[in-house]
Symmetry: C2
Subunit: 533 residues, 2 copies
């Protein structure tokens, strides 16, 4: 874990990523075959037909005008996701799924490097399982999707579609774990779960969502707490280094805890409108589920003990965070390490003679980039102006654009345009010789600069709110960092009166103490308050 | 596609795999981090506690005694899967899931190399969708799991958990596809589906199973048929080259077609008991779903046309095929290209002094193998005899075992034991110098030899059955290859009287013609008849 912790610590100071090009080649996703995926996406990123051309020529609302509508339209237009026929469900389209696949690969590497293995538990759970842990049933019963019929007959016992898997995993662990030699059990699964949400929004809150859920069992309370914190660190490291999303890792209040947990930790990120988004959670379940499901082991002395368990998850919600942290009025800006395409090549020509020369040159450049492990998309669409194509790829958030026309070919040069710096400032004429190295450097710079910018934005919109008046003002535009006594009454009042919730008690504390922002009682910890998604 | 076709063709003649060590390192799965996964599995492959030690010392039934019980016990003992609390559902345990992850990676590479992209469609489908295509509803209605309540209230329209996704994909494609420029759409998804099966068996037939389902839309009938056949070739190539499972690609009869398809193709494999297993299917759906869901496009002439669609899937059933094709009375034999661990190192020592020397040596060997891209498992368990550990890993099907004791260390040698050749015949003393190259070569040999052996077995148990008497005899122990008139009446009679079904009309035909094995009518195609899973 030294690596992960180091990264977490360095996140506060700014960080360096080792290398942006990671041998993935032209692939849109970490598992894609190098050569062919550009072809695949070229086929699948649809040639705009007339209707769509007009639609996508309409301007997005700016973020200032209507942040929520900017988000909704952008998700649809960039073809990240679409509404499903069932209320509140979403279809994750190929471009969005490629982004999610890159997220999953980056997380899965970290899970395996910290000793976890994957497995798959069933999606159907007996209804009675949910009732076995009393906080759990209170939390999840209202959100269940219930299967009452199967194979044309009414079931004797209704089943639920998993809203999360602690219960069914607990049932299995009770069977599998017998001795201290069996511990720890460190299992993760990638799947989808269903929670009957009323207000939904693509990626942020959907009836069905995609995620990973880790479930571990340990011999001691200490180990379980260490695991819970380790996974919080893993999420922090992922957010910072892969998604360029600065996050605040911290502890939730009792009111915001996972149903059945002793302690919940989360990473909290500031979106472009100043609101908070909980982007990943890690729960110490104590012995609650172990007692409810009888997960026990014989210790070295031959005494039967209950295990200590944890669970932790990060979901497609994170895609929403990436959109809202980095996006601008032109559309998405995807962090290079996760972007399905790190660079798009736009060949520019008018005549057939130019076309032959430019395409030959562009394909050669593409091959050089692919060979260097860059994920490349070539835009060979015809009948669309360069301006239209530039805007289209800017809207889709591709970090870099390479433009090449007949004059560039003649000069052995090309234009590289950074998505994160619009207009002339982000454009550079570069020699074609050594293009792959130049692209690699620029991608690293963009990744770093996205992180720095987001961190700056969060700092600029976080106030050290010493009194309640300041807190009220702060949460109008961002985060308030305030001393808090830890009592649920103060937390509830603040929520009621300001619509801001206690996001977390950051792991990193200034030390010392101060007066609770609401009741004035002396307290030793600062908390983050914000309105949240 | 040239590569894939070439492999398919060469499959008939015996084939060579390019390289068994594929840069995956020590990882149990293609996405695992090199170094850590051995540690992960070391933690997760549980140290047998006393009870389990006794249990696993019990002998498996032999395949000859009771093939079905051999299979059931082996799946549980090797910890590939376990029964779930809901009847007919399964938990895929880490060892089984690592195998499935390697299968998914091998297929996903092929899908992407043939131009496909991944996406995710929701698991909940309005009940009414299933009714829109009339053969589809007839096929799937009896097997549906129905959600009638959500969020504590009865739903206005019941939802079903997808039994397959043609309907919801059709709905989306109707919205997304407008012009010939949008075609083809080539999307795949990895997920699970639910079908209310009555007789279930781990991996082979479960209520919920894991699979991929590809869904494509095309402008012409010709293109759709080419796609259908291409994916049949992809499955064949995967089965032969990755799983070392010889398969017969062919066409299904009308009676065995997918509900809603114009044509269904499958790959059929012979299991160790001579029965057939359908191991992957590819469907040409014609315009059936396009008409039911209004998937239309404007062609170049501006005329509105219905699309032609396909779908194709391969599921966790394939894990069952691997078990039943390669396994022997000692347990699993996993093909090196898919095995979670390609080699297990078993250090052997008695005293503490020996332990220090042997472990140091074993770890150095492990590192050499990891560096060469081999997936390695180190068995450092203590208090278990070498014999017990050998049997344990043999049961789990690890293709190679490396034994190293104090004398070996002194000599700079080690023992390599092949799983596919039990006893002395499969053991070799090798110098430690150059161990990685020796292991690489042996893994290739094992992969090839598993394929050859399975092909031999199929040949030995396939009879050219010229008359009905011969067919009846042949299906008692394997496949019958017979002329068939193509009429459903003959097929039904054969099924009724022999319990053998028409598995497929192989793509590869001898040419010429002969008399239908049942009715004697002249026919031009041979078909495979067999009892099947």
């Amino acid at each position: 874990m030294r690596l992960v912790r180091a990264a977490v610590i360095s996140a506060g100071r700014g960080y360096r990523i080792p290398s942006i090009v990671n041998g993935r080649g032209e692939a849109a996703t970490a598992t894609g075959a190098n050569r062919a995926v550009t072809g695949a996406f070229a086929l699948q990123c649809r040639q705009p037909s007339k209707n769509r051309t007009k639609m996508s020529e309409l301007k997005l609302p700016t973020r200032g005008e209507d942040f929520s509508e900017w988000y909704n339209q952008l998700v649809l237009r960039a073809e990240l996701a679409d509404y499903a026929p069932v209320r509140g469900c979403m279809i994750v389209r190929p471009y969005g799924w490629a982004l999610w696949e890159n997220i999953t690969a980056a997380l899965d590497r970290r899970f395996k490097a910290t000793g976890h293995v994957n497995a798959a538990f069933p999606l159907l759970i007996p209804r009675s399982f949910i009732d076995k842990e009393k906080s759990h049933v209170a939390g999840f019963a209202p959100e269940l999707a219930v299967v009452t019929h199967g194979g044309g007959e009414e079931l004797e016992e209704p089943l639920v579609i998993r809203p999360t898997s602690e219960t069914i995993v607990g049932h299995a662990y009770a069977k599998w774990i017998q001795s201290y030699r069996d511990l720890p059990v460190l299992i993760n699964q990638w799947n989808s779960v269903v929670r009957w949400e009323l207000r939904t929004k693509l990626f942020l809150r959907t009836l069905e969502f995609f995620w990973q859920e880790g479930h571990t069992a340990h011999a001691t309370a200490l180990e379980a707490e260490a695991e819970t914190r380790q996974m919080l660190d893993v999420y922090t490291d992922f957010a910072v280094r892969e998604a360029a999303v600065p996050v605040i890792p911290g502890r939730k209040s009792a009111a915001e805890r996972f149903a059945g947990a002793e302690q919940t930790y989360s990473i909290e990120a500031m979106m472009g409108d100043g609101k908070a988004l909980q982007a990943g959670t890690s729960h110490n379940l104590g012995q609650n589920f172990a007692k409810a499901f009888g997960i026990r082991y014989l210790d070295k002395a031959g005494v039967l003990q209950h295990c200590w368990t944890t669970s932790w998850g990060l979901s497609t919600r994170f895609v929403g965070a990436i959109i809202m942290v980095h996006g601008d009025d032109q559309g998405l800006i995807l962090p290079p390490r996760l972007a399905p395409f790190q660079i798009v090549i736009v060949p520019i020509f008018k005549t057939d003679a130019e076309k032959a020369i430019v395409l030959e040159n562009a394909r050669r450049l593409r091959q050089q980039l692919v060979d260097a492990g860059v994920r490349v998309r070539m835009d060979e669409r015809e009948g669309l102006s360069p301006g239209f194509r530039f805007n289209d790829w800017e809207m889709r958030g591709v970090p870099l654009r390479l433009e090449v026309g007949p004059k560039d070919v003649a000069k052995g040069a090309a234009v590289l345009a950074r998505r994160d710096r619009p207009g002339k400032e982000g454009k550079a004429f570069v020699p074609q010789q050594g293009i792959a190295a130049a692209v690699g450097r620029l991608l690293e710079e963009i990744q770093q600069s996205l992180y720095d910018r987001a961190l700056e934005f969060r700092k600029a919109n976080t106030a050290d709110a010493a009194d309640y008046g300041e807190l009220k003002q702060a949460v109008e535009k961002g985060f308030a960092s305030s001393w808090w006594c830890g009592r649920g009454e103060c937390e509830a009042k603040i929520r009621e009166e300001t619509k801001a919730t206690m996001r977390c008690i950051p792991v990193e504390q200034p030390g010392g103490g101060g007066k609770c922002v609401y009741c004035g009682q002396l307290s030793s910890e600062k908390a983050i308050f914000a309105r949240a998604y």
